[in-house]
């Protein structure tokens, strides 16, 4: 099981890969909404490159799917990589009837209550995308924690980019 914490710590260690990945994504993407992506943000969570080959043996595929999705500053737009990861999640969810909790988060900049609203908007964007992919809204709960549950306590771009996220649980 890949926990969000494990993802966060592996993210820290592969920040260069992520930066490189985001550059590639930005170049390769046909989607206009990724054009203004800040290349300092890790848009692609490269965890499968690092961990999947050594961990596959008896793990169910579902547990290897991405469960944390990152966002740009003050944005709730889903990135191309997030959409791809959510397609895989939707495919898994269509085969089960378990309920899903989508927890939205923001970085520390700006006010706490506005960040709660921003976190909710991000989690709703994920819920809307999954609903379009055939996941029943009745199974999804959206909860925003705003900036109250940071992954990183660092007040810099790296810390902030880890905290702007939606976690699927």
């Amino acid at each position: 099981m890949i926990t969000s914490h494990a993802i966060a710590s592996s993210l820290k260690s592969i920040i260069f890969l992520a930066l490189f990945g985001s550059l590639l994504t930005a170049c390769a993407s046909n989607s206009t909404q990724d054009q203004d992506t800040d290349i300092q943000e890790p848009t692609v969570v490269a965890t499968p490159i690092d961990q999947a080959p050594t961990e596959v043996v008896d793990e169910p595929i579902a547990d290897l799917l991405e469960t944390v999705f990152y966002f740009d500053f003050d944005q709730s737009t889903l990135k191309a990589a997030t959409r791809a990861a959510l397609d895989a999640q939707a495919a898994r969810l269509r085969t089960t009837d378990s309920s899903v909790r989508l927890e939205g988060h923001a970085d520390e900049r700006g006010t706490r209550e506005y960040n709660l609203a921003l976190g909710e908007r991000r989690a709703k964007a994920v819920a809307d995308y999954l609903a379009i992919q055939g996941v029943s809204r009745a199974r999804m709960e959206v909860v925003s924690y705003g900036e109250e549950r940071p992954i990183s306590l660092r007040s810099d771009d790296n810390g902030w980019s880890l905290n702007r996220r939606v976690e699927l649980k």
Partner: protein, 432 residues
């Protein structure tokens, strides 16, 4: 037998309180920026007779006045004498030290009865300008000292003193990996006597005092979802006011204490509502697909200011409660949020982004004149003192969350760091 049980409970309660107190420390005050021409005052240590008091009243008063930024207090070491009565005051000595006002006092404690007398002198006019006598059987020494500070401050500035007020704030300990504990604290406005009124492993935010100062409303995630609670401070008795799907946030008591503005996203996205606290009936105030949040009341109770990104970026708007008419109040900068209206209803303070940094700013309604009050970054959660002279806010200092204060004219600042916690979400109490 029954008495023994009661006594044991009292002892248990007291130990619990002491444990709670020992787990976090007093905030200490560090003055970071002064003003150009403060009034120079000397506060002579009070003469005391009888059983020891265990508190330095003159020291508390000196700290109170220094904390306004409007006074420079003469250090005790610089005093040429320690007068105990008017006959012992040599004006020339004090004038030579540049002192403009002189405060002396006497206390006595006998048979649980505390007597306090003080006199305030105008050194230039060489006359007593204020004198009071107090007798007190409740030994709330800090409150007594703050009362003297209020009298002196009001006499010399014409502004109501708020030294006996309190503040609420949230103290956070621990790191994200092992989990963080959240405490809602109520302390004196000078950071002394902190008391924990709620502790949770889940986030607590947005404390707001009732106008009578007896209750605090706040948002707690203790059920793994946000909900608004109202807690009576003295008894600890609390009530969950909302538990709707989605956001339940930003509680703001109306000036008459009967209603509460709040944010709920139960209808799909964040909207401002007003709850009648007696009937719990909700009235929806805003209706827009954008984010609407952070309501605060105008003093007349007839309208709310709030944050909305309906224009693309967060800005401050005002909505009239009777007509629902909305108008935009801010036009400078790409981020204005968390407005708090001053008691005269003519201006507000808010979080204002300037060159990527988040400051506290003041804006006049009629002219839209805007003044940035703070220079630190990541400033948020402004909360105005009940006399409108200063505001508390939260910021970061050396990678820790700290509380800070700034005068409404921007000229004076102090920080209230906590030695071992992140402190945030200050709320200045009303005058009680």
């Amino acid at each position: 037998m029954r008495l023994a049980v009661v006594l044991r409970r009292v002892v248990l309660f007291i130990s619990a309180v002491m444990l709670a107190v020992s787990s976090y420390a007093d905030l200490t005050i560090e003055i970071t920026e002064g003003v150009d021409n403060p009034t120079k005052i000397a506060i002579v240590p009070f003469e005391h007779r009888g059983k020891p008091l265990g508190a330095d009243l003159a020291g508390i008063i000196a700290a109170d006045l220094a904390r306004t930024g409007q006074f420079e207090v003469l250090p005790r070491a610089g005093m040429l004498g320690l007068p105990r009565s008017e006959e012992e005051v040599f004006y020339r000595d004090w004038r030579s030290l540049g002192v403009e006002y002189l405060l002396i006092g006497r206390t006595s404690l006998q048979n649980q009865r505390l007597e306090l007398a003080f006199d305030l002198f105008d050194v230039h006019r060489q006359q007593r300008v204020l004198g009071q006598r107090h007798a007190n059987t409740v030994l709330e020494l800090r409150a007594l000292a703050h009362g003297v500070s209020d009298s002196v401050y009001e006499k010399l500035t014409g502004i109501e003193g708020v030294f006996a007020t309190r503040m609420a704030y949230v103290s956070v300990n621990g790191d994200p990996a092992s989990g963080r504990s959240h405490r809602l604290i109520v302390a004196d406005a000078d950071g002394a006597r902190p008391r924990e009124i709620l502790k949770s492993d889940e986030p607590i935010l947005s404390p707001d005092w009732s106008p009578d100062g007896r209750h605090i409303a706040y948002v707690s995630f203790e059920t793994n979802r946000p909900a608004i609670y109202r807690q009576e401070i003295a008894s600890g008795i609390r009530q969950q006011l909302t538990a709707f799907r989605g956001l339940n946030g930003a509680p703001a008591w109306s000036p008459d204490g009967r209603r509460m503005a709040m944010v709920l996203s139960r209808d799909g996205n964040p909207e401002i509502y007003v709850m009648d606290l007696a009937t719990k009936k909700l009235t929806r105030i805003t209706n827009h697909y954008a984010i609407d949040t952070e309501p605060d009341w105008t003093p007349d109770g007839l309208s709310l200011v709030f944050t909305s990104d309906r224009g693309g970026k967060p800005q401050i708007y005002q909505v009239a409660l009777d007509s629902g008419a909305v108008k935009r109040l801010t036009h400078r900068g790409s981020y204005n949020a968390a407005a708090q209206v001053l008691a005269d209803g003519k201006s507000m303070v808010m979080v204002h982004r300037d060159n990527g940094a988040y400051h506290i700013a003041w804006q006049e309604f009629a002219t839209e004149r805007l003044i940035v009050l703070t220079r630190s970054d990541l400033d948020e959660s402004p909360s105005i003192a009940p006399n409108g002279s200063m505001l508390l806010f939260a910021t970061k200092y050396k990678q820790r969350g700290v509380l800070a204060a700034v005068a409404l004219d921007g000229g004076f600042k102090y920080r209230l760091p906590s030695p071992n916690s992140d402190v945030q979400e200050p709320a200045w109490s009303p005058k009680m």
